[in-house]
Amino acid sequence: MKKLGFVMILLLSVSFIFAGGTKEKSKTAGPKYKIGLVFDIGGRGDKSFNDSAHAGLVHIAKQYKGYIKDDPDNVNYGTVIEMKYLEPKAGGQDREQLLRVLAEQGYNLIYGIGFMFSDPLAKVAKDFPNVHFAIVDGYIPNLNANSNITCLLFKEHEGSFLVGAIAGLMNKGGKIGFIGGMDIPLIHKFEGGYIAGALYVNPKLRDESMILAQYIGKDPSAFKDAPAAYNIASNMYRQGATIIYHAAGASGDGLFQAAEEYKKLAIGVDSDQGLIYATAKDAATRARAKYILTSMLKRVDNAVFQTATELIENGKVNGGYNSFGLKENGVGFAVNKYNKDELAPILSKIESIRKKIIDGEIIVPDSDSKVKAWALKNLK
């Protein structure tokens, strides 16, 4: 009978919560535009891909007096634009559901962050012709300017070409290395650009043994396996590598750890990882910062921001494919107050390469498998 009493207490406490806890949320006039975003797995706080998308939202808020709903950082610069982000679980129909609920709730522009959104986004977009959808890294076939989907694609190989060139110029005669996360075509874009860039500036690297490349694994966990990255990086440094570039998401930390240990250099990816590490809270992370030579930037934030700008300025977004390369400032490399002196001697050279790519003088191969043909054609 004691148990019955326990249940009664539970019920009482529930009713108490209902009676006491309601709090009024201030509701003001509706926003002009509502922008929704669904993260990839990992979500906000991954210090990389998703956070870069989040930075895009913050940029929108600043520029156009908006706010992000339910954000722990209370991003709030006004009420003209309302923004909301969600995070799915793995697999199933979850991505589709979240996109759909945003559309149902009257969001005008909805982003899906990551290639996993390709199918769900295409399906939902069909049901909501008046809502515009944008997908980062995803390719949906047969779009045109009147479609309500925009694919935001990055030329990671172009950015990688620049950091490859930096590595080729600063390797001091040593080998250079590349660590990929999961072995998928997307990551091979990074590798291809990187190798081509290095070969372009440094003929000595054309000897096959001079460039080391390895992938961590064949499943998504390869993007969060820092110990594996550490082992691979240590091995490469021992074999004589002086600079290693990674495209392995959160696994990159293992590379930076190895770089610190071997007093060699590393190149980060997606965000300005040198800056992030230099301003980190814990000392161990900060200590690694000075071994991060630079980072290949994939400006998801710019892509997110530019798409929203189109909506806010023109009232509509053009469908189709938006490529973000060096020209569109969608990729690049990081120069910050910590590494600018170190990079100073070669900056002009890298800048001229950048111009050549933008002008179409250099066409960067988008996979390591194409580098050989590219080199035979373009390098003497």
């Binding site: 806890g21 309601t22 995070e87 589709e96 979240l98 709730q105 996993m116 939902v124 998928i184 499943d219």
Partner: protein
């Protein structure tokens, strides 16, 4: 289902009380967390309601989401009934799904044959993936927890390799997501939404109430019938209760274990049906992961009975939707729902045990 007699005596009522109490207790914890986060509990409950039960579309979505959860639960429950701790459902549906998808991609058959064929191939794949751990258990006494965990990893690596390599269906300029070639339209699962609308249930087209629902209903019924109405099911439950007694009674314990393990694998093969044949139309390494482990929790809460698993799967689907509701309408982080799900399992299992002990003493008293 004429065979099911709903005898609501007090023991049955007590048994029903356990999950209900566990559910309520975890909701209370949820509301406490909501208050700590600084939201109002009323709004949180409204958010959950809006996302789960507010419209027929939402209710139908819960039903839809529960389908793979049901398969996961019933697969694990079947093994549990026989005392086999199959935590390899994960690997089994990865592999089963792959085999099923291969049949869908490469066989050319008319739809009315193709669909049953891909279902059977999925089961076959799952069964195959359970075969080696099952044989190792029965012949060499290697514990299935260890082998099935290892086989989960092997399946994951194998599937990723195949999808990115030999079976990759990626052409130039296509989606960046690694995937196989498209499954032929004859093997794709159609939707039952129109049928439900005829019955007066007004659900929109986008909800995935597809053929896998029919498969689930049939599977549930067959599993129930085999376990509780057939001699082999009786023997499977007997070995799950006591190997010693079963051996004493002349049952062929090893064969039964082997069979139960493999059947559990075959059932696991069905977990991926909905996602592969109804949602995606191709196979990829990103097929819902973690369902094998959800299956353990669902079997536990459902007390390994097919009907219990139905309820537990619906409960899990509800929780999943509730989590999104909270995420959408409040600032409660999504991860809170993981905590709540974990707590709920804990509460329900503990309360189940307490109630079971209480019922035992009551019965003892009654029996003298």
């Amino acid at each position: 289902m004429a065979g099911i007699k709903l005898r609501l005596d007090r023991y049955k009522l007590l048994e029903i009380f356990a999950p209900v109490a566990g559910f309520l207790a975890s909701i209370v914890v949820l509301l406490i967390i909501v208050i700590v986060v600084g939201e109002s509990p009323g709004e949180a409950l409204t958010a959950i309601y809006k996302f789960s039960l507010s419209s027929s579309a939402k209710v139908a979505t819960i039903l839809s989401v529960s389908i793979p959860l049901f398969f996961a639960g019933i697969a694990v429950a079947f093994a549990f009934q026989s005392g086999v701790f199959n935590i390899g459902a994960e690997g089994q549906y990865y592999f089963g799904g792959l085999i099923g998808a291969m049949a869908g991609i490469y066989l050319h058959l008319p739809a009315f044959i193709h669909i049953p064929v891909v279902i059977l191939f999925s089961m076959l794949g799952g069964a195959l993936w359970a075969l080696i751990p099952a044989i190792l258990k029965v012949t060499k006494n290697v514990h299935e927890v260890i082998t099935t965990i290892m086989f989960n990893s092997i399946a994951l690596a194998l599937v990723n390799y195949l999808v990115n390599g030999p079976l990759s269906g990626l052409g130039q300029g296509k989606s960046l997501e690694p995937q196989t070639a498209k499954i032929q339209s004859t093997a794709l699962f159609g939707k039952l939404n129109g049928f439900f609308r005829l019955l007066g249930w007004n659900i929109p087209d986008y909800v995935y109430l597809d053929y896998s629902l029919i498969v689930a209903v049939i599977t549930g019924f067959i599993v129930w019938f085999v376990l509780f109405r057939m001699r082999y099911g009786f023997e499977i439950r007997a070995i799950g209760t006591s190997l010693d007694v079963s051996r004493y009674a002349g049952m062929k314990v090893k064969q039964l274990q082997l069979a139960a393990f493999i059947i559990s694998g075959a059932l696991s093969g069905l977990i991926g049906l909905q996602e592969i044949f109804a949602i995606r139309g191709y196979y990829t390494y990103g097929i819902a992961s973690g369902l094998g482990f959800d299956g353990i929790a669902i079997a536990l809460i459902g007390k390994n009975s097919p009907l219990g698993v139905v309820f537990a799967a619906l409960l899990f689907a509800f929780l999943k939707q509730a989590g999104y509701g909270l995420q959408f309408y409040t600032s409660v982080p999504n991860s809170v729902i993981y905590v709540i799900t974990g707590l709920m399992i804990l509460f329900i299992v503990v309360i189940n045990e307490v109630v079971a002990a209480y019922i035992r003493t009551l019965r003892k008293k009654e029996a003298v």
